[in-house]
């Protein structure tokens, strides 16, 4: 079963992730701030250029900013235009079966055609 309750395993995963993210952050700060000569003297010569310590966060922030705009644009593009039949019906509604009307029973759930809905809403009852 899946339940969101706290479990000992989940506590251990959380703590390991916490320690790992702190370790990664301290490593990133060391890489970005300590001068190259000091790192060479320690024997760490094959680390990436410090250019990337600034470039990667900038890339990430620009991607997040573009992502907002892109998501908005994708949403607008996938909205059905006003003249498409998708605003009225879809494949499930076209293939639905008509169930027989039973007395004294709640009518079966179905997609009501738009003409019927309009008549009910906008034409006054006689």
């Amino acid at each position: 079963e899946n339940s969101p309750a706290p479990l000992p395993e989940r506590a251990i995963y959380g703590f390991a992730l916490f320690l790992g993210s702190w370790f990664g952050f301290i490593l990133y700060l060391i890489w970005a701030y300590i001068p190259e000569t000091w790192l060479f003297s320690l024997g760490l010569t094959y680390w990436p250029q410090k250019y990337w310590a600034v470039a990667l966060p900038v890339y990430l922030l620009v991607t997040i900013g573009i992502g907002y705009i892109l998501l908005f644009g994708i949403n607008m593009m996938s909205t059905a235009p006003l003249n498409s039949t998708h605003t009225i019906t879809d494949d499930y509604a076209k293939k639905q079966q008509q169930k027989k009307f039973q007395e004294e029973a709640i009518p079966a759930l179905r997609d009501i055609p738009i003409s019927e809905v309009n008549r009910m809403f906008y034409l006054p009852e006689k």
Binding site: L82, N83, I114
Partner: protein, 188 residues
């Protein structure tokens, strides 16, 4: 008999609905949009010319000024002839068809006729448009292959976008004519 009532469009602009009954089975409904305002026209052209003057002050090239005048004139002509719609009207003739006319500010009129045999119904539909949900009137056409299905949706009053109260008036008028189709079967 003719009557005119004032309504609001979806964006809040005042529009007027005119209803004319030509005969028992013929009705014309036209929606008039607000005309082009002189103050918005002068505001836009002043803004364009100020920007052009600023560019001229920076670049010392007098072609910028004549280009700005040219662009303003051509832009105004294109806007009046292709974009600004003054009046949209719907002429419903029972047993014949439905005619949709759009008149542009330059005087151009574009007309579409749909014969009654193709028309399934005229309904008020709701759809997402930009960031809003709007009500709009549309004509549903029969699907030749499927008696329950709809082959095409023709939206009406696209540029004036009346609100629901105006649409309900137009809907009731159209339904009165369309109901006559059922009571008087056509000779085929």
């Amino acid at each position: 008999a003719m009557e005119e009532r004032r309504f609001r469009s979806a964006s809040g602009a005042p529009i007027a609905l005119r209803r004319r009954q030509h005969s028992a089975c013929c009705r014309e409904l036209s929606v008039r949009c607000p005309r082009l305002r002189l103050r918005s026209l002068s505001a836009v052209s002043s803004a364009v010319w100020l920007a052009a003057y600023g560019l001229f002050a920076l670049s010392e090239n007098s072609m910028v000024l004549s280009a700005a005048i040219f662009i303003t004139l051509i832009g105004l002509i294109i806007y009046l002839h292709f974009v600004k719609i003054d009046q949209e009207s719907l002429l419903v003739i029972g047993s014949l068809g439905i005619q949709v006319t759009s008149s542009y500010a330059s005087g151009k009129e574009s007309t579409t006729f749909i014969e009654m045999g193709q028309v399934k119904d005229v309904v008020i539909n709701e759809a997402i448009h930009m960031q809003k949900v709007i009500y709009y009137l549309c004509i549903l056409l029969w699907d030749p292959g499927d008696p329950q299905g709809v082959s095409e949706v023709v939206p009406l009053f696209q540029s004036s976008k009346p609100r629901l109260d105006c649409l309900i008036e137009v809907y009731k008028s159209c339904q009165e004519i369309l109901e006559q189709r059922k009571t008087t079967p056509q000779a085929s």
